[in-house]
Symmetry: C2
Subunit: 358 residues, 2 copies
């Protein structure tokens, strides 16, 4: 079980300026490297306080590359549906070079109707665009004189520059919230996985991971090479009550801001997103105590969170974990304390995986 730090700004300008958010986040990134974290990752979102401070993960990670020397830098996730593959492959390759081969590329399908609408992209084509975008980037990185003609983009033969440091391409992760198809495709193709278990039932996540591992093995790959990242929000304090109160307050804020953006699903039906029309309702019914009990949010003293992670490992096998320690407006010193506490107390308390864990 490797441990990384995720950044997901849930901030409006009246709460904290982006300059302060980035300054504080970059200090967290330096701290994470010094404490032995595996990676930092950051989202791509638009149009509001729900992630909107980070419309381009590559921009932030290029800065993070200059503040670190060993930490892996991962997009979590880049959205091919919104960016031309020549640009996406190109800027990610720049980042792979700027960081001397420390890039990991998470690709996501996106799920907010408002984002698709703003980009003028038909949400019903999202699955095809996702697949086409990932394959176009992989082809551009891996090959020379590449031609792309996938129904969405048509160009070539061209050789994408700059060439990536990692050959044939940086590690690729597919982000999936609830799709066994995506997981199966990832396993078959040798891609890694990013999963946010927050709004998905445990059994469904288990089904997704089973589909992934089965497809990975069926393709003749070594199971030890597969990476599965689970993303959690994580709130730590030496005082369990303080941790839980903070967690509940920040989760409610996250949910309030998410509610505003997923409200779009009240009016949208898309064959590409079966079940998403219930998303607004699911989000509305969010209950912190239930979510905490179900280990969808990590909160408490270090030993409490270590217990939660041991349970998570029991449920899902040998996964990696990537934690959001602050949505951005936790005071900087408290966010730093949490990053430190996780590395110094949670990870050691967790101990090695029990035998039999996949």
């Amino acid at each position: 079980m490797r441990h990384g730090m995720s950044l997901f700004p849930v901030l409006a300008p009246e709460e904290k300026s982006a300059a302060d958010y980035f300054d504080e986040s970059l200090r967290l990134v330096e701290l994470a490297e010094s404490l032995g974290y595996d990676h930092v990752q950051i989202v791509e979102h638009y149009l509001g306080p729900y992630g909107g401070y980070s419309p381009d993960p590559v921009t932030f990670l290029a800065a993070a590359a200059m503040r670190t020397t060993t930490l892996r830098l991962i997009t979590g996730a880049s959205i091919p549906a919104f960016t031309h593959p020549l640009q996406l492959a190109g800027k990610l390759a720049m980042l792979d070079n700027l960081s001397h081969g420390r890039l990991g590329v998470g690709f996501g399908r996106a799920f907010l109707p408002t984002e698709f609408e703003a980009f003028g992209v038909d949400i019903d084509t999202s699955r095809e665009r996702f697949a086409a975008g990932v394959e176009a980037c992989r082809a551009l990185w891996s090959g020379t004189d590449v031609t792309v003609d996938d129904g969405f983009h048509r160009f070539g033969p061209i050789t994408s520059l700059p060439r990536t440091v990692q050959r044939p391409h940086p590690p690729i992760y597919l982000a999936s919230a609830m799709s066994p198809q995506t997981c199966e495709w990832a396993g078959r193709s040798g891609f890694h996985l990013q999963v946010v278990p927050t709004i998905t039932a445990r059994s469904q996540v288990q089904e997704m991971l089973a589909a992934y591992r089965e497809a990975w093995a069926a393709a003749g790959r070594d199971p030890g090479d597969a990476e599965i990242q689970l993303k959690f929000t994580c709130y730590l304090d030496d005082d369990r009550d303080v941790a839980l109160r903070t967690a509940e307050e920040l989760e409610r804020n996250y949910i309030a801001k998410m509610t505003a953006v997923v409200a779009g699903w009240a009016d949208v039906r898309s064959s590409a997103y079966a079940g998403y029309e219930q998303l607004a309702g699911k989000v509305r019914q969010y209950d912190f105590a239930t979510s905490h009990r179900d280990n969808k949010v990590l909160a408490g003293r270090p030993q409490d969170v270590a217990e939660q992670l041991a349970t998570v490992r029991g449920w899902f096998g040998d996964v990696d974990v990537s934690c959001v320690f602050s949505p951005g407006y936790l005071p900087a010193d408290r966010a730093e304390a949490a990053v430190r506490m996780y590395a110094e107390q949670v990870v050691p308390a967790l101990g090695p995986a029990p035998a039999g864990v996949a």
Copy 2:
């Protein structure tokens, strides 16, 4: 006359890796700041050794922001025709925050048929897309609840995040190679100017700058607030012959790589690019001695280049200068020596502008 450093990689993978190019360039950026340069800027190009190591200027400048504290960071230029305004405004705003308000945004129209073709963008619409993209970004930065419906993109009302540090928006520069219309528009709108005089006659550049200054003044602006950046390649050595030999060799390489990409103009006619069908011919006829004599390339000992710049100032008035000291494969120590020599010997030798220079 302020002085900046421009980066324009003219490199193929077999010549130098992008990792080495970026490492060396970032060291030049640090050196430029320590020597009092005004800014660093970098291009956006695709599809080949002619600039193709920099498909996204924002990615490089985000890294440069972490290596500097006062240097201005300028895109030279970003191409709105190829990027959705939500993304372009968004990532540039991230950079303005990461750099604490040191961003300058150069916008360009692009001019390579192969790039338009790869992006599936009709080159005949380039002028309208350029104008629409610049106005969309300016509106997104300046206002809240912005609606865009310009025939190319339609979205809103939305408030673009993150908000820029510089209010109402970072300084905007319009890049123009040979278009008095663009210059007039820039002056009227309060935008600054980036001009590459390489392939344009002196009289035409003078006409462009006159149109710009006239429109600027007609709008009631203070002439002292206008910024005009002229971009040059610059080759310096204590030995004049070495400087000229190096200059000729590197210019020939630049021209050879440019020839490959502008060959596209042999088969293209676009009402939006009157005269560009002659571009391939112009480039083919390139003669170093003529170009040097006409002060389109700066080369020689420091005092020679200072004389050239004095002449340039006599021709064009009080302009700023942004120099490419190496296309990337000049050995790093020679590039660093040139950056140092320019700041320590050319700039002081140039002296103050004579009275009467605009």
